[in-house]
Amino acid sequence: MQGLFAIVGLTLKAAIRYRVVIVLSFLLLASVVVLPLMIKHDGSAQGFTQILLTYTLSAITFLLGFATLWIACGSLAREVQECQIQMLAVKPIARWKIWLGKWVGIVIINAILLGVSSSAVYGITLWRAGQLSESQQEVLENEIFVARGSALPDYPDIEPYIDEYMAERLEENPNLVDMDPTYVRSQVEEQVKASQQVVRSAHIRRWSIPVSSPESVKDQPMFLRVKFFTSRPYDTSTYNVLWQIGPPETPQRERLSMDIAPETPIEFEINPNLLDAEGNLIVDIYNDNQEALLFPLEDGIEVLYKQGGFGWNYLRGMLVILCWMGFLAAIGLAASSFLSFPVAAFVSIGILIVGFSSGTLSQVIEQGGIGGINHETGRKDSASGLDYIALPIAKGLLNVINLVKDFSPVSFLSTGRSITVSILFQALTQIVLVMGGIFAAFGIWAFYRSELATAQGNQ
């Protein structure tokens, strides 16, 4: 381990010698201080705090990410190029230790920089919040400076219903046998789903939402987050609904009449202590409109409740960002293990661009191929030869990318969502151990195979 630590120490010394740490610290702190002065917001305390957290943490992530790639590519490729690596390679130290030592060194640099800059963001955010009125501070305490857990309704498994309904349909209409069975099943599935999602005009629907730890939410404010659709696309009108929340026929049951807009999530506070004896939140909605309203099973209705404090949540969020930095360091080092500095930087950035293109990849999968879609269905009518190659590649790439991208600590922090320990462990496993590990294995393998003493181009 002594050799490994020695490399870590050398990497840190090099970073300090080249003033990377100082310059980056200055840049990060400047962005943290200057950004709040420049950004425009909706005028509310919540809006300002949310945009402050989002923009400063995103700026830190971007700057650190870019610097990490640069350092990672430079530290190995330049040393090889300038023949400095030979001084290390002739020492009794395994190459994997050199590679890993550099990675650890870069991660430590990141940890220091992230620690300094995120502490500054934390301090500034809390300081600015402290300047607000008590009522606004209370709103921030409940909605943003908090780690809120989420609970969804218990929906029954719809597969048996689909099978049953499908059998009935086929019996009623034997011609359906001639149709594409996948298509028929998807139609039946939508019909079954609709029975659980739709609230017809002048009707009531009830949801029972189990909250995992009822005791912990006692006397704590809770929030209902709802999202619905109507039959009209891009609907900008509002709909009158009446909510009745809490155990039926009890005095604490809360009635809220409101006009709400479709297609995007709406969040509103509800009274505390509305759970029934079993720890369920009973929510009834009365649809007082001519139109039916559809609340999707996935995110139609959700309860948000306090699960923990902001400080630890913030720390966990920063650790997820550090995982990303570790992954970027692995990419940069892997590329620089067998490529010269400019090429390694180019390849690393190329990999990132593919990562950022996950939207395009999802679109290819959704549309069933590349280009030439039928605008009526939004899909390709028939797959071309190219699609047979492109689709599996897109699916594979997307799965791999999602292992890293499925985490959104900045978004969670700015909306007061809980980043649990299990999410942190999942991030560590997926981003660092699995994805970072793959790049590390490849990088170490390439580093072992590279001829370090070959005459370099610049000599």
Partner: protein, 501 residues
């Protein structure tokens, strides 16, 4: 010598660079002129832009569109996810990347004021977004595009439709917030142009400064609007719609778009006629006895009948394409004016407009004035238009109060009963979900509102009639209708609405 040059070469180079940049600056001016003369510049150079914006628009060149697209995609995605806190910043960047693209300003402002605002169930939150939409157009859009008709039209529309109309459930909050803000700026609710045009005291100077800096409004133009179309109640959003449409007509260069601003003006006049009078009254705070805050109600502004008519006629002359439609609207306005003036006991004016409408549109009224008004009552009996019905009810109650003053009690009771029946019928017609949005004041509330006007020594009945009214209603000499209305409202808030019949 060589050593000297070598030592100071760096400074020579810096000096050389400065000279070259300065020369390039001079050259750039003449090149820009030449480009404009030869018609090589499609877009006008950006004026009034802050340094950052001027730099980005020049430095980014063709990439501006690309970055703008990316920001637009992000804004759409965030909107779908219900994350609105970045929208103001994104709209600011998008519009500033394409500052001369008018539809971008209009779209972004519309998105903030209309699409995003309604996503918030809380009306206070909605108001924030409506303000942001207005600010984007007024404070920034017009700064870079001071002659763009579409921006004036859109801004006027926000005032007239988003805030002025009752389609948004939060419309009363918008009106109240706007009225409260302008109540601070105007002395006793009305602009005193002598003071506003030449403020002397520090307080007056500050008020004018706020009008100019915050609301970007010029008291001289307000005066012109009042002279040409008013007098208006400047605490109402419709008056501000008129202001921006009027200003647009004065400064815009695109004559083909004028018609849109003229439409705003005549529609604004119509709305101001129907409910352009603001009645303020104190509301008692149930939680703090003895404390009052200001609240507002709206009534028809019959003083602008003549000018509303002129606006219609001007519009008919200018908008040949929709001549028939505007003619129909004009005819309906005149019929309503006859009816409103009659029910508000302005008999002479009612007769004047009755003659006018029959002359202008011979098929409009085929009966005597009294027969027409009576038939209109029957017709309006089933009306579910909040503004029209309220105007009519106010008219009946006013007539009833005057009948009381004149000692015609039976007639007065009949008038009031009719008003009560009509109100009840209205509530029977609208559905439960509309009650909050398009509610009507109670007859008692309307009666006290009208008493405030009728007992006003300057605007109301003459002294004899006012005293007779006080006596017959059993009111004390120090009876304050505004205070009474406030107390009535406070009671209604605590105990719920009072039964009407």
């Amino acid at each position: 010598m060589k050593l000297l040059i070598g030592r100071y070469s760096r400074y020579f180079l810096i000096l050389f660079m400065v000279i070259m940049v300065t020369c390039a600056g001079f050259m750039q001016r003449s090149m820009n002129r030449a480009r404009a003369d030869m018609g090589l510049t499609r877009l006008q150079p950006l004026e009034n832009a802050p340094p950052v914006l001027a730099f980005t628009t020049v430095a980014l060149g063709g990439f501006r569109g690309l970055i703008s697209n990316m920001l637009w995609i992000r804004a759409t995605q965030l909107q779908e996810d219900g994350k609105y806190f970045e929208m103001v910043q994104l709209a600011d960047w998008i519009t500033k990347l394409q500052p001369h693209f008018v539809t971008v300003w209009v779209h972004q402002a519309w998105n903030l004021a209309y699409n995003i605002s309604v996503k918030f169930p809380d009306h206070e939150d909605r108001w924030l977004w409506v303000q942001r939409g207005i600010e984007l157009l007024r404070d920034h859009g017009l700064k870079y595009n001071p002659q763009e008709t579409m921006i004036y039209r859109e801004l006027a529309w926000f005032f007239q439709h988003k805030m002025g109309a009752n389609l948004d459930d939060a419309n009363m909050l918008y009106k109240a917030e706007w009225a409260a803000a302008w109540d601070q700026l105007l002395m006793e609710g009305k602009p005193d142009y002598e003071v506003l045009l030449d403020p002397q005291t520090p307080e007056d100077k500050e008020r004018v400064q706020v009008m100019r800096d915050v609301y970007k409004m010029d008291p001289a133009i307000m005066q012109k609007v009042d002279e040409e179309y008013g007098p208006f109640e400047w605490r109402l959003p419709e008056s501000h719609a008129m202001y921006w449409a009027f200003l647009g007509l004065k400064v815009s260069e695109r004559e083909k778009d004028y018609i849109q601003l003229r439409r705003v003006i005549f529609q604004g006049m119509q709305m101001a006629f129907l409910r352009g009078r603001m009645i303020e009254f104190p509301v008692a705070d149930p939680s703090a006895p003895g404390e009052f805050s200001k609240a507002f109600e709206f009534g028809p502004n019959l003083d602008i009948t003549e000018k509303t008519n002129s606006a219609y006629e001007e519009m008919m002359g200018a908008d040949e394409k929709y001549l028939q439609n505007i003619g129909t609207a004009h005819k309906n306005f005149l019929r309503t004016a006859v009816y409103f003036l009659y029910t508000h006991n302005r008999m002479q004016e009612s007769e004047k407009w009755y003659d006018y409408v029959r002359e202008k549109y011979p098929d409009s009224i085929n009966s005597t004035l009294e027969e027409y008004v009576f038939a209109r009552v029957e017709e309006e009996f089933g009306s579910t238009s909040q503004d029209r019905l309220k105007g009519m009810l106010m008219g009946f109650i006013e007539r009833s109060l005057i009948d009381i003053a004149m000692g015609q009690e039976e007639k007065a009771i009949a008038g009031e009963m009719l008003a009560r029946k009509m109100r009840k019928r209205y509530y029977d017609e609208i559905n439960e979900s509309q009650v909050v949005r398009i509610k009507l004041p109670t007859v008692q509330e309307m009666k006290i509102e009208l008493l405030a006007r009728l007992l006003d020594p300057e605007e109301g009945l003459n002294e004899l009639m006012a005293n007779q009214l006080r006596t017959r209603l059993g009111l004390d000499e120090d009876y304050d209708p505004k205070k009474a209305l406030g107390e009535l409202r406070a009671t209604a808030q605590v105990e719920g609405p009072q039964p009407e019949l």
